[in-house]
């Protein structure tokens, strides 16, 4: 078989593969900071309470599974792989659902491209993406029209609504897309019925869950309304600050100066670490006011840079503010990690232990938390930690002033 024949025979699958690789490369190379920014806005705990708390709200399962996936974003490589697998699966599902002939397989890329676009929007969490994926999986299961699948379809709307949220309204497309009903108007009552049933579910859920109707109709965790929108620029600087890539921070700023006060502060710290300016210059140039905390990413950035220069109380405050600003009321593993550090440095060991106990229930912070537990239980061990000991000395011997 020649390459031409292989291409002719398998081009749809090759297209799928190319799509997956493109998704993977995009996230790994162009948007790793967005994945990190998503990860820092949650605290995924491996316990039943965490699951049950989410199952109490409409769309809770989709949120839970979305957060399950997002915890892997801590490592951009595994995060990019997650996106590639999910979006490729959506494309294959779509292809299966529309039962298209090969020449129409290109249509099956519409939904994954739409989800890709959604994933690039920092205000849209992972929840609607997962909800759409699972709704499509449900559509695939109901592909054949039988009496049973028709009954299941109706039952799937309320159950699906509670588990996945308003994305189940897509089930209204089943008669058209899956069953290829002809004439089309014969399927209309079924589709309208599903849409109305979804609307009824939204109405009923407003009596059962503590959210306003407009938020339930939109999906409780489908869109984040926040006054602290993070920009991609701030996310990128934050990532560079986490990795202490001082050269890249300076180069980025030199190429394109920023209006963000947090970014400007980060550049000062980068220059300090490159020995281009003195500590006095940094202290004179730093802006510590609330204006520097205009977004969640800038608050995390401020926390990171404050730790770099030993301002532990500012690092603590900004990490706490970042966590409290998370629009869906999640807590943040990254913020808790920082708070463990600041509370250990400032001698508030019981508070550190409280946060450590939570981080011990996470997948990727567990080992670090266990190491820190030893330190919180035996504060003398701080002396053996060069950075914390330096910060502690600064904290213990510094002159107290106020910041706002």
């Amino acid at each position: 078989m020649t390459i031409r024949n292989v291409t002719k025979e398998y081009w749809p699958l090759m297209l799928t593969g190319a799509f997956g690789i493109a998704v993977f490369c995009f996230w790994l190379l162009y948007r790793p900071h967005l994945m990190l920014a998503r990860e820092e806005m949650q605290l995924f705990l491996w316990n039943t309470d965490y699951l049950s708390e989410r199952l109490l709200i409409p769309g809770g399962l989709a949120q839970y599974l979305g957060e399950f996936v997002v915890q892997f974003f801590l490592n951009p490589l595994s995060g990019a792989l997650c996106y590639a697998l999910i979006l490729t699966a959506v494309q294959l599902l779509g292809w299966y659902i529309i039962d298209a002939r090969r020449r129409y397989c290109i249509l099956s890329f519409i939904v994954p491209c739409l989800l890709w676009w959604m994933a690039c929007n920092p205000d849209i969490p992972m929840t609607p993406v997962i909800a759409v994926v699972l709704t499509m999986a449900l559509m695939a299961l109901l592909k054949r029209r039988t009496a049973v699948t028709q009954a299941v379809l109706l039952l799937a709307v309320p159950v699906g609504y509670w588990l996945l949220g308003p994305a189940v309204v897509l089930l209204a497309l089943v008669p058209f897309v899956c069953w290829h009903a002809k004439p089309l108007k014969a399927s209309l009552p079924m589709s309208v019925g599903i849409a109305l049933l979804t609307a009824l579910c939204v109405l009923v859920s407003s009596r059962l869950s503590p959210y306003p109707l407009r938020q339930l109709a939109r999906g409780v965790d489908y869109y984040w309304e926040s006054q602290m929108h993070s920009t991609l620029e701030e996310m990128r600087y934050d990532m560079l600050m986490r990795t202490q890539d001082w050269e890249e921070i300076s180069a980025l700023y030199d190429a394109r100066p920023s209006q963000s006060l947090a970014v400007r502060n980060a550049v000062l710290v980068a220059k300090l670490n490159r020995h281009e300016i003195s500590q006095v210059d940094v202290l004179q140039g730093l802006v510590l006011s609330k204006e520097a905390l205009r977004s969640i990413a800038s608050a995390f950035l401020m926390s990171e840079l404050s730790m770099q220069i030993g301002m532990v109380n500012i690092a603590q405050r900004t990490a706490f503010e970042a966590m409290e600003a998370i629009p869906n009321y999640n807590k943040s593993a990254r913020a808790l990690r920082r708070l463990v550090e600041t509370n250990i440095v400032t001698g508030q060991y019981e508070v550190a232990l409280k946060y450590i106990a939570l981080l011990e229930q996470t997948l990727f912070y567990r080992d670090w938390a266990r190491r820190m537990k030893r330190m919180a239980d035996n504060p003398d061990e701080i002396k053996n930690h060069k950075i914390y000991q330096q910060m502690k000395e600064l904290y213990d011997n510094g002159t107290d002033t106020f910041f706002h």
Binding site: P210, P212, I314, E321, I326, K331, G347, E350, K354, T401
Partner: protein
């Protein structure tokens, strides 16, 4: 067939027995006895409880303990047993035991298994008071101990005879709104007030069977109605109005935040006439009046006042004294003379949150080195004044090295509650104590089914708690809709 059924039922029984055993944990054997008291969490050793309190479930403070076995014997009658990772008492059996031993005590024997070895500790007692609590439960706000930005918070009520907590109003229903102190009139849930801060701000008042949403801000007053306290008649409610700011310490040991008022005043609100009654005695220029409270007979208005300072330089010089002025409920007017009861010039400290016991005999307040936002002051302690003699003393029975703060009395004045950060220095928890003959018994933490797990996972502080004699009836959904609407009652000033 019959044989098969028999086998299946036997198998089922065996499985059930195995499950039961597994659920119960292991039983003490080869027990080593020690004369030490058990270190348990929460520390219920030697506390005094009302006979209607929820089970005092507890675990060993040592997290390496895998199983505890607890025998509870009543000094008068009855006994109870619990075995497992923590002592989880059956709620009905617990209440039955408390009822049988009212006026007596429960004696608890704790055995703990650690690394396969059992240790039996010295027996300890929990006194069951003869004094009724006289309250159904408590109301409180739950809020993260945050700086400026707040996420999920809410007003809740909790049945003190069980572990049931229900929402009064959570701000997920009213996004971006801050819900402030829910305050009832002498623990009566028919009359309450709370404040909403944010773009849909309001002062929500329920009285006489109707709920009103007042304008959040009165322009003549120049601010909103912040810290409330009801007049016993129910016609008036005293408020402070505060222009609050905060600043953050860089390296102050154990202190993060200093909350202060750029200005504050105290006034009385006439509920019937929707009128703010102002008086220059509690609205003096250069002075910051704050934290008002009526006496139980309604004849006095207590408040705190401090000479305003320059911030941030003199932040630690703002010290509040406790004063009172006569109040005439017939006219709604204040008297002409202010008495100073706790004078900062004499104490060198700052006193705030005066709360008289409902029998009028004692005045409880919080004392700090400076300021009035006591929860961020580790040195904050509860103090008590005997109103008959004027003598004051620190309440060492309940104070810790960390902040003790907001407090309130039960309607019969035999119990009080307060918030404390004694556990970890940051997350405020709710404590209760019996009070008799001018002395408080050892306080106990608000019981939870699995206390360690609950309090460890809880990322909220308990805030502005109070007793409630019955459950508060509030339709949270309807209330949220009204808050989101523009419906507001205007207030007048006099």
């Amino acid at each position: 067939m019959a044989q098969t059924r028999f086998s299946i039922s036997r198998l089922g029984l065996a499985l059930a027995a195995a499950l039961l055993l597994a659920a119960c944990g292991s039983r003490p054997e080869d027990v080593t006895r020690t004369d030490e008291l058990p270190q348990i969490y929460p520390d219920y050793v030697g506390v005094t409880v009302p006979s209607t309190i929820a089970p005092l479930n507890f675990c060993m403070a040592d997290e390496d303990v895998t199983t505890i076995d607890v025998e509870v014997r009543g000094s008068k009658a009855g006994q109870l047993h619990a075995n497992g990772a923590y002592a989880d008492f059956d709620i009905d059996e617990w209440h039955s035991l408390l009822a049988q031993n009212r006026g007596g005590e429960l004696r608890l024997t704790v055995c703990a298994e650690k690394e396969g070895r059992w240790t039996q500790y010295r027996e300890f007692a929990v006194a069951v008071s003869n004094d009724d609590l006289g309250e159904w439960g408590v109301t409180y706000r739950r809020i993260p101990p945050s700086y400026e930005i707040y996420s999920m918070m809410g007003l809740y009520q909790r049945d003190l005879s069980s572990f049931s907590e229900t929402e009064l109003l959570v701000n997920t229903r009213t996004p971006d709104q801050c819900l402030n102190c829910h305050t009832a009139n002498r623990t009566n849930p028919d009359q309450w007030v709370f404040h909403v801060r944010g773009s849909h701000g309001a002062t929500v008042i329920q009285t006489g069977g109707r709920v009103e949403l007042l304008q959040a801000r009165n322009d003549t007053l120049g601010g909103s109605m912040v810290y409330p306290y009801w007049h016993p008649s129910g016609r008036y409610c005293a408020f402070s109005t505060n222009k609050t700011s905060q600043m953050f310490h860089t390296t102050k040991k154990n202190k993060r935040i200093e909350v202060y008022d750029a200005s504050s005043d105290v006034f009385v609100y006439d509920v019937e006439r929707h009128t703010i009654l102002r008086d220059s005695l509690t609205m003096k220029a250069l002075w910051a009046e704050n934290t008002p409270a009526f006496s139980p007979d309604g004849r006095w208005l207590y408040f705190t006042t401090a000479l305003r300072q320059v911030y941030p330089t003199d932040y630690d010089k703002e010290m509040y004294s406790i004063c009172r002025v006569a109040f005439d409920a017939a006219t709604g007017r204040l008297g002409s003379q202010v008495d100073t009861l706790v004078n900062t010039r004499l104490t060198g400290k700052s006193a705030s949150w005066p709360r008289l016991s409902y029998d009028g005999r004692y005045l409880m307040y919080t004392q700090t080195d400076y300021g009035y936002f006591t929860i961020w002051h580790p040195e904050a302690d509860l103090w008590l004044m005997d109103t008959a003699t004027g003598e004051t003393r620190p309440m060492d029975e309940v104070n810790s090295r960390r902040a003790e703060s907001f407090h309130n009395w039960s309607a019969n004045s035999r119990w009080f509650l307060f918030t404390s950060r004694c556990e970890d220095g940051l997350y405020t928890r709710l404590y209760f104590a019996h009070f008799a003959d001018g002395k408080a018994a050892k306080p106990f933490l608000l019981p939870q089914r699995n206390p360690r797990d609950y309090y460890r996972r809880l990322m909220h502080s308990y805030n502005t708690p109070d007793f409630t004699s019955r459950p508060v009836e509030m339709d949270a959904r309807r209330m949220a809709e009204r808050i989101e609407s523009g419906e507001r009652v205007a207030t007048k000033t006099e």
